[in-house]
Symmetry: D4
Subunit: 215 residues, 8 copies
C-alpha cells in the first residue's frame, strides 16, 4: 500500500519525509519495514506522537532517533552538511513545539541554525537587543501564534528572507492559528512568506530550497 518516492531525494535534494499524523500502527510499521534496510537512505518522520511511537514494533522503532517534543524521528542518520544558515525565532515559549520541528528538520538536513526563543513584541526590548544576531543568518524563520505581530516587526527591521510559521497557540478568535496565519499573510512588513499553521517542517524545507547549491 506504500509507494515511497525514492527518486525525490535526487529531484529535490531531500528525501520524502513521512507525515505520521493519521496513520495507524499497521501503516507506520509497513513504511518502517520498507525503509529499514535502506541504510544509505536517511528519512525524517514528522508528527509522530509518543503514543504512536510506543506502539511501533520494537524491532523497527529501535532504529529511530525520536524527539518527543517536536514529534520527529530520524532513521539512518542525517544528510551531509550544506551551505546556508537559518535563525529560528519564537514569540513565546508555547511556540517551542513547532519551532523544534523546524530545528530538528534543519538538523536532519545538515543546515547550521540558531534558536531565539520567547522574544515576542509585548516586551519589544527582547527583540531589539538581538536584531544584529538574527540578521546575520541567511534565512529567518519566525514562529508565532495569537496575533503573530513578531513577523511584521522582524520583517520591517531586516532585509533577510523571512518565513512566517503561524502556530495554533492562543484561544478564542486565535482560531487554532488562523488569525496568526492571516496576520502574517496581511503583514505590513513587505515580502514575508508563510507556511501552513504549525508547519515547522515546511519552513525548514523551504529554507533548504532557498539555500540549495546554485549551479
Amino acid at each position: 500500500m506504500v509507494n515511497y518516492d525514492y527518486p525525490r531525494r535526487e529531484r529535490l535534494g531531500m528525501p520524502e519525509a513521512v507525515l505520521c499524523a493519521g496513520k495507524d500502527s499497521a501503516a507506520l510499521n509497513g513504511i518502517l519495514s520498507e525503509l529499514s534496510d535502506r541504510t544509505d537512505h536517511p528519512v525524517l518522520f514528522t508528527r509522530l506522537e509518543p503514543l504512536q511511537f510506543d506502539r511501533l514494533e520494537p524491532a523497527l522503532s529501535r532504529a529511530l532517533d525520536f524527539d518527543p517534543l517536536s514529534g520527529t524521528a530520524i532513521l539512518h542518520g542525517r544528510l551531509p552538511p550544506r551551505q546556508g544558515t537559518v535563525a529560528v525565532v519564537t514569540a513565546g515559549t508555547a511556540d517551542l513545539r513547532v519551532a523544534t520541528e523546524a530545528v530538528r528538520t534543519l538538523h536532519f538536513m545538515g543546515v547550521e541554525h540558531s534558536l531565539f526563543p520567547d522574544i515576542g513584541v509585548a516586551g519589544l526590548w527582547r527583540l531589539l537587543d538581538r536584531v544584529e544576531q538574527i540578521a546575520a543568518h541567511d534565512v529567518v524563520i519566525v514562529v508565532a501564534g495569537m496575533d503573530a505581530a513578531l513577523a511584521s516587526v522582524v520583517g520591517g527591521l531586516m532585509s533577510n528572507c523571512v518565513i512566517g510559521v503561524p502556530t495554533s497557540v492562543g484561544y478564542g478568535v486565535a482560531q487554532g492559528g488562523t488569525t496568526a496565519l492571516h496576520a502574517m499573510l496581511s503583514s505590513c512588513g513587505q515580502g514575508i512568506l508563510v507556511t501552513n499553521i504549525d508547519n515547522g517542517f515546511g519552513a525548514a524545507f523551504a529554507a533548504h530550497r532557498i539555500n540549495r547549491p546554485q549551479d
Copy 2:
C-alpha cells in the same frame, strides 16, 4: 417612525448619535425635521455619505456641519468641554477615514485630542520616536488594518488604556478587517480593548465613558 431617545443624554452624558448608513432620504429628512428645532440638543450624525448629504432637503441640511472624509455631521454645535485627553494613532494613511471619525466624535464631545498618523511598525522608528508624546494622553486609540500589529506594540510599550479600532484596509485574507479585529483581540499586548471594524465613533464614545466625571 422615529422614537429619538432624548433621555439618553442624561443617562449616558452623550446624546443619541444617528447612524445614517442604510437610511434613505425620507428617513433622514424625517429625523432632521424632528431634531431641527431642538437647538439646545446637539446631535452627531455618522456614516453620512456625501451622496446622502446632497440629497437631504436643503432647508434641513444647511444646519449641518458636514465633514466628507469622516462622513460625520454636527447639528446644533458641540458639547461643553470635558476632562481627559485622547491620542488617536494610525498605522497607515488609508486608516485616516476611520481615525477622522474618532477625531470628529471627540471634537463633538468637547474632548482634547491629538492625531498621530502613519506610524505603522514596518518602519518602527516612526513609533519609537513618539512613545512619550503618545503616552502623555489618558487614552490611546490605535486605528489599524491588515495585521494590526501596531496595537500589540503600543500596548506593550505603555501602561495607558489602549483601544484598538480594526479597519477594513487590506485585501485577500485581510477579509475586510476581520484579520485586524482578530489579531487585536488575540494580542500578546495584555489588556487591549477592541471595537467593531471601522468603528472610530465607538472608540471615541468609549473614551468618553472612561473619562466621565467620577462622583
Copy 3:
C-alpha cells in the same frame, strides 16, 4: 528557553502574567524555577488546569495560591492596593468560570471589586433591581455567552465604561463564543469595548489600565 519580561512591571504597572495553556510540565516547572526566588516579584498564572497544577514539582507548586474554578495561581502575594472600583456582572451561572478569572486578577492587582452573578435579561428584573449598585463602580465588566444581550442593555442604562467579555457558553450557532463576541461588537449600546472570548484576565488588566494613576 524563557525570557521573562521583568521590566514589564515598570512599563505597564503590572508584571508579565504567565498563560499556562499549551505549556507542558517541563516548561511550567522551568518558569516557576526562574521566578521562585524573586519573592519581591508577584506573578499571576492563568489558564492553569488542575491537572497541570498536579503535575508541577511539589517543591515549586507549594508556593502557589491556586484557585481551580478560575484556573489561576498567585506567586509571591498580591500587588499593593490601588484606586478605582470594578463591578463584574454575569448573565448566567455558567459564565462564572470566566468571571472568576477576572475577579482573581483584580484581587491580584489590589483592585476593589464586586460580583453580580446570574442577572441575564431573560429575567430583566434581576438587572433592573441592581442598576444603581452596579453603576456605582468605575468600570463594569459584563461576562456573557450565547446572545450576550446583557452587554447592550447594561450599556444603554449607565454611562460607565463597559467592557464586554464574551464567553464560550452555549451550543450550536453560539459557536464557542463567536456569536456573543460579534453581538457585543455590534451592540446597539454605544461605546462598549470588548475582549477575546473567555478572556476575564484581559478585561481585568484593561480595567487596571483605565484606573491607573494619572500623573
Copy 4:
C-alpha cells in the same frame, strides 16, 4: 418555463408568492402574463426592486399595487380577512424596510396587525412603555439587526409566540445579518423562533400558519 403552483392556495391557505429577486424582465413578464387573467387568484410579489418594476410591460404592471419601500406588489386584491392579530416590532428605523415586507404580507393575507418601530434596547424605556400593548397580540414579530438583543428582551417579558427576523442592518462583524441571526437562535429568551435574514415575508407567512383556523 413556469409551473405556477395553483393548488398551493388550497393546500396551505395562501397562494404561491413570487420571489422576484434574480428574475429578469422576460421571466417576470412571463409570470405576470400567466397570472393576469386569473382575477380570482390574488398573488403577492416580493423583493421586486423599483428598477424591475419600471421595466415590466406597462400593460401588465398597471394591475399591480406596488410599494417601493418593502418591494412588494399585490395582484388581484387581498385575501379575505382572517382571525388572529400580529405585532411587528423593530429595533431601529433602518429595520423598517424588512418590517414593511412583513406588514404588507399581513395586509395581503387579511390579518390585523400593528407596527411598533424604533424601540431598541439601547433606550429600554421605549420598549418597557409598550409591553402591554405588544403582548395583546397573538404573535409578535421582532425585526432587528446588529446584536438583535431586542428579541431576547421581548421573549423574556411576555408569553406570546415570538418570531425573530434578523436584518442585515449593521457593519463589520454584523456580517450582513449573520450575527443578528445567530444571536436570536442562541437567545437566552427561551422558545424564540427565527426566520432567514431579512425575511419579513416568511415571518408573516408563519404567523398565518400559526393563526390558521383549527378544525
Copy 5:
C-alpha cells in the same frame, strides 16, 4: 451565585428551565438545593449528561425523574395539562436524541403529542403515507440533520405551523448541523420557523407559546 427567576412561570406560563451543559457538580448541586424544597414549583433540567447525573449528591438527585437518552430530568412533577397538540417528526433514527428532548419537554408542560420517527425523504413513501395523521396536530416539529430536506417537503404539504429543529447528525460539510440549519432557513417551503441546532427544548417551548390560552 444563583438568581433563579421564580416569577418567570407567571410571566411566560412556564418555569425557568435549567440548562446543565457547562455547569459543574458544585453549581448543579447548588441549584438543586435551592429548588428542592419548593415542591409546588416543577422544574425541567436539560442537557444533563448521565455522568453529570451520577455525580450529583444522592440526597438531591433522588428527587429527579431522569431520562438519559434526552438528557432531561424533571423535579416536582409535570405542569397541569393544557390545550393544543404537537407532532414530532424525525428524518432518521439518529435524530431521536434531539426529538426526545422535545417530547420530554412537551410531557413536562402537559401537552399532548405524537412521535413519527425515521420518515426522511430518501424513502418518500414513509412521509406520504402519514401526511394526514401529522397534519391533524396544531404544530409540527420537524427534527432533521444532514440536508434537512424533510422540513421543506413537510412545509409544502400542509398548512400547519412547522418548526424546524436542525440536528448535528451528519459529517463533513454537514458541519455539526450548520447545513441543516441553513437549509431550513432557506427553505422553499414558505413560512417555516427554525430553532438553534439540536434545540428540541426550544421547539417544544415555542409550541407552548403558540398554544398558550388566548384571553
Copy 6:
C-alpha cells in the same frame, strides 16, 4: 500569452472550453484570433457576459453563436452527435440561467437532452407527475438553489446517475449557493454527485464523461 490545449480534444473527447469570466477584451480577442482559422476545431465559450461580447472585435465576434441568458458562445459549430440522454431539472425559474448553461453545453457536445423547469418540492406534485419521464434519461442533472431539497428527493425516487448543480439563487444564509452545495453533498439521497456552485457547464461535461463510448 495563450497556450491553448489543442490535444485536449483527443485526450478527453471534448475540446478545451474557454472560461471568459475575468478576461478583458484584449485577452478574449487574442484567444479568438488564435482560434478563428481553425474551423475544424469547434470551441465553447462560457461565462461570456453580453457586455464582454459587445466589446469583442466585430470581425471576430461575428463567427460566434452567442446566447445571452446562459452566457455561452459557440465557434465553428457543434461536435458530432453521441450516445446517451440527459434530463436537466430545475427547482425554480431563477435557476434557469445555470440550467441553460448545461443545456447549451449538451447541445454543443451533440448530446440529446430535455429540460424540466420549475418543479421544486414546495409543490411536490410537479415532480411526482414527471418521475417516469425524467427517469427515462441516462443522467439527471438537478439544478437548485436555496435548500436544494429537490436533489435529495429526486435521488431517492430513481436509480439514475444524479448530478446536483447548486445555484446561487437565494439570500441571507443561502450564502451565494453554499447552503445548496452543502445540502447536496450531505444529501440523505445516497450516491448523489455534485459540481461547483452555478457550474452548469461542469455537470454537462461530467455527463459527457459518463456517456463516453466504452471500448
Copy 7:
C-alpha cells in the same frame, strides 16, 4: 423507532445502507434485530467503529462480516455481480481508510474494481506510470486530502468519469477536508464530480448509479 426502507432496493437497485455514526447500541441492536431474519436482504453498515461493534449483542453481531479499517460490515452476503469496472486511486497512505470504504461498498455491490494507492502528484511519475491501467476502468474514484491536486491531474489526463472524494487528511488550513473539497470543486480539470468529505461509500454508490443496466 425504525422505518427501514425495504422498497429502496427495488427503486434504486441497492438496499438502504445503515450509517452507524451517531447511533448508540440500543439503536444499532434494534436495527439488527429488525434485519436479522431477512436473510434474502443483504445490507451494508457504514461508519461502524470497532468500539460500537464490540458493544453489539453477540447473537446479532455474529452474523456481520466486519472490516475495522473501513468501518463497514456486511449482513446476509453480497449483491449479485453487475457490469462496469471502477478504479480507486489514493494520493497518500493516510487516505486508505476512506478508499477502503469505497472498495468494500463496491465489493458488497458486486462491482469489479482495482485499488491504486499512494500515487500523489508530489512524485508525479507514480501516476504517469499508471495512466493506461487506470483509464481502462469505466469510473475512476480519486481519494485525496490536503490540496487534492491529484483529482485535477487525473481529470486532465483521461476522459473517464472522475469522482473526487476529498478526505480529512491534513492539518491547519486543510480544515478537516474542506480545502480538498473546495479544490476538487474548483478543479481546472473540467467535468469532475465530487462527494462529501470522507464519503467513500457515496462515491461507490454513485458508480453503481452510473453503471446501472440501461433498459
Copy 8:
C-alpha cells in the same frame, strides 16, 4: 498626514512601496508631492487603478511610468540591477494581471526574470515541456487560482525555491482565492511558501529578500 519611511531603502534594500488601494486623490496627490522632488529615490506604486491614475494632478502623474494591466507605476526610474533570476509561471491567462504585478516589481528592482503563462495542469504537457527552462531560475513564482494544483506539481518536480501566489480567479467555492491559498498552504509538494491572495508584489519582494547579496 504622511510619514514616508525613507530609511527603509537602507534597512531592506528596497524603498517603501505605495499601496494605492483605498487612498483617495487627495491622499495620493499628497504622497506624490512629497516624493516628486526626490529624484534620487525611485518609488513603486501598486494597485493604482486607471481611474485613480486619471484623477491625479497632471503635473504629478506625468512623472509616472504607469502600466494599467498590473496597476503599477514607477517614479524616478528603476533600482540598479542585482543578482538572481526569477521565473514567473501562471496556470491560466486570467492570472496574468497578478503575474504582471510580480513582473513589474521585478523590473523595478532590477531583477532578471522570465514569464511562462498559461501552463496549468489540465494540459500537463504544457508544464512538462518547460520543466528544465523553469528550473534554471533561482526562484520560481507560481501564480494560480481555482484549485492551484500547479504549485504542488511544480514543487514536486524541481528543487527550486517555489513561491505560490494564489489568485482570486474562479467562482463559487473558489471563494475569491481562499481555496487556492489553502490548497497551496496544504500542498503535498513539500516546502512551498505562500503570499496573500493576488499579492504579486509580495512574491517579487520576497524573491528580492532571497537573492539579496550575502555579506
